[in-house]
């Protein structure tokens, strides 16, 4: 490249071009504006809630805002964490099944069946969790309380309805399975075939091949898939609101009838009847939820974006 080269030829800019590219640019910028607006409006409406006088706000019941939101944050993290513990191993199993075990012609169809789970609306999951799953798992909870009661998690008395945080977490786990599976499946399929064949040629069994070739290659994908699943589980509202019978406590007991609620479920249950400053208090809790999910998703995206080929949105 020489500095004396002829000036760069620029395409002729017609009015139509300017208008069209301007519109496209505006639309792109609008997305950033919307995201900024979401944060700004939550802050504007939420700050009065954080500084609200506890005596004048019925929702706070005389305590300050942080004492009110503490158990909710705990419940949100606890239920999402439980869901993640249940979902990740199964999701990895499903992804391996579809990518390396199932007969090749069947694999696409099986993947589609798992995607069907993602298509079911959350309110239907809530209805099913409250009416079917909670009833179904209650005997198991009674058994756990009787036989494994010495473990703090299963210290009874077992809930008579089965509507505990463990049930809510199971529903959440089912709901986040598809996204974790989709991302794991995509990375597992990207494993270089030569690595796999080399392992098999050295006499490895199928599991040994997966252990030395597929899993190390897919570790970043598994982590980011789990993080995206965590983001979903943290923000999920209906499944928790409809399954859980909640009270504002902090407890690690997962099968009793007193359970911590989650931020999202608490908003859904309290918002329709809220008035005055209570609305601001609820929006402030929403702001905290927004911050938590933003952090989790940003970390997940950062890991995903280091490998450009896949993303959870498609």
């Amino acid at each position: 490249m020489t500095s004396t080269a002829a000036p760069r030829i620029r395409a002729k800019q017609r009015p139509g071009d300017r208008l069209f590219s301007g519109t496209a640019l505006t639309a792109g910028a609008l997305i950033l504006a919307i995201l900024a607006a979401v944060a700004a409006f939550l802050v504007i409406q939420g700050v009065p809630g954080i500084t609200a006088d506890p005596e004048k706000t019925t929702l706070l019941e005389g305590t300050n805002f942080w004492a009110y939101v503490g158990p909710l944050v705990f419940g949100t993290l606890w239920s999402a964490g439980l869901a993640l513990i249940m979902a990740v191993p199964i999701a990895i199993g499903i992804a391996l099944f579809i990518s390396h075990y199932a007969p090749r012609p069947l694999a696409a169809t099986l993947g589609y069946i798992i995607d069907l789970l993602a298509a079911v609306p959350s309110v239907v999951f809530g209805l099913w969790g409250g009416n079917v799953l909670a009833v179904g798992v209650q005997p198991a909870y009674a058994w756990l309380a009787d036989n494994l009661g010495w473990i703090p998690f299963f210290a009874g008395p077992a809930s008579g309805t089965g509507r505990t945080i463990l049930t809510a977490s199971i529903v959440l786990a089912v709901m986040i399975l598809p996204i974790i599976t989709a991302i794991c499946r995509e990375v597992f399929l990207q494993t270089p075939v030569l690595h796999e064949e080399a392992a098999l040629a050295l006499g490895a069994t199928r599991w040994e091949m997966i252990k030395i070739a597929v899993l190390p290659f897919g570790r970043a994908g598994i982590v980011s898939g789990a993080m995206l699943g965590l983001g979903r589980a943290l923000g999920e509202t209906m499944a928790v609101a409809m399954v859980l019978s909640a009270s504002n406590v902090i407890t690690f007991n997962v099968i009793s009838s007193t359970n911590p609620s989650t931020i999202a479920a608490n908003i859904a249950l309290s918002f329709p009847e809220a008035y005055g400053l209570n609305v601001n208090v609820l929006i402030a809790t929403g702001l905290i939820l927004f911050a938590i999910t933003l952090i989790v998703n940003t970390i997940a995206r950062y890991i995903v974006n280091r490998r450009k080929e896949f993303s959870g949105a498609n």
Binding site: P121, V174, T205, G235, L289
Partner: protein
């Protein structure tokens, strides 16, 4: 592949120490049968015991795993045994994931059929206490709000993806890509709170209107539209654009007349999938649009019911005749699932028929 048979005088050295192909199946059937018999005896021993299908299958599968691994370890060695164990676990993971799906679809269809009648699609819940009534007002609300959300989201989403693919270079494009990804992770209820905070500026505090629900849905819908359209636009071969440029066609006309028509099927598919995703959203509509028992055809005044919120409110506030409310909730859930599945199916059919020919 042939396995050795005992009749042959010389053993196949390569197949020695290997379980025959039918062995896992045989072990599975026999271990399931064992526990079916055991549970039949338990049932016979109790006065009014019910046959425990779940227990029989569960313990049968556990026994299958133990026997298979033990036999395999004795015959084939521990490496093969581990391999078989993992195969069993991986298959089991898939089956476990199927259980909730089957159970959910089964219960929704069985329970939803009770009220899946003409009344449900023609009447509202106005002045209904107990039995009767329908969800027509909710269906109309859902259609209106989803349509409004689509009208807001598709132009913004499509133009953004055009910017990202055709114009975007450098920092801004990177930032938009990143934040679109972040936006897909916004909890739906936060989108609802945002729409509510926005709308109280125009309508005054405590108000719930349909347009707020539509705004909330748009926040959730835009990133999905951007991602899917972007993907489709990138599939359009560069040769087509270059050919158009070579003929002296302006860039904006190239995009409008060459790039978009080539990818329109994929974009339509993406839009339909995004509609399918937001049509089942409950939380944002509950917060932003509220609920009502009446017909409301105006997006800009009064509360507006939607199908998911209808299901939720029927379930959460059951009246004196609880069964009638539950039946309506299930029928609403069935309608919702049918709508979502139909949209998904249609989207996939469109994608299949009109898929762009990329020459691969």
């Amino acid at each position: 592949m042939t396995t050795t048979t005992p009749a042959r005088p010389i053993e196949n050295a390569y197949a020695a120490g290997q379980l025959p192909r039918w062995a896992p199946l045989l072990i599975l059937i026999s271990s399931l049968a064992t526990f079916v018999i055991i549970f039949l005896f338990i049932q016979a021993g109790q006065p009014e015991g019910e046959f425990n299908v779940v227990g029989a299958v569960f313990f049968g599968v556990v026994l299958y795993g133990i026997v298979l691994v033990t036999v395999s370890r004795l015959v084939e060695g521990h490496r093969r045994a581990t391999d078989r164990l993992v195969t069993t676990l991986v298959t089991l993971a898939f089956v476990i994931a199927l259980l909730p799906l089957i159970s959910l679809l089964y219960t929704v269809v069985i329970n939803g059929a009770a009220r899946f009648d003409l009344d449900f699609f023609t009447l509202s819940l106005r002045n209904v206490v107990g039995e009767g009534g329908g969800a027509a007002h909710a269906i109309i609300g859902t259609l209106q709000m989803t349509l409004a959300a689509t009208i807001i989201s598709v132009p913004i989403g499509l133009m953004t993806s055009i910017y990202l693919v055709e114009y975007g270079r450098g920092r801004l494009a990177q930032a938009i890509t990143f934040f679109v990804d972040v936006m897909t992770g916004i909890p739906s209820i936060v989108a609802g709170l945002f729409a509510y905070s926005l709308i109280v500026i125009f309508f005054g505090p405590g108000v719930r209107v349909g347009i707020a629900g539509a705004v909330a849905l748009s926040v959730l819908m835009i990133p999905v539209v951007v991602r899917s359209s972007e993907e489709m636009l990138r599939l359009v071969p560069n040769e087509l654009r270059e050919a158009a440029f070579a003929l002296g066609v302006p860039k904006w006309l190239t995009i409008l007349k060459v790039v978009l028509p080539t990818s329109i099927a994929g974009i339509t598919t993406g839009v339909m999938l995004s509609i399918a995703r937001v049509i089942g959203e409950t939380a944002p509509l509950l917060v932003a649009a509220g609920f009502t028992n009446n017909f409301n055809y105006s997006l800009f005044s009064d509360r507006m019911q939607s199908l998911p919120v209808f299901v939720y409110s029927s379930y959460i506030s059951q009246g004196t005749d609880a069964q009638a409310y539950i039946d309506r909730a299930w029928a609403g859930a069935l309608t919702l699932i049918l709508i979502v599945m139909a949209l998904n199916l249609l989207a996939r059919i469109i994608a299949k028929i009109f898929a762009p020919k990329t020459g691969r």
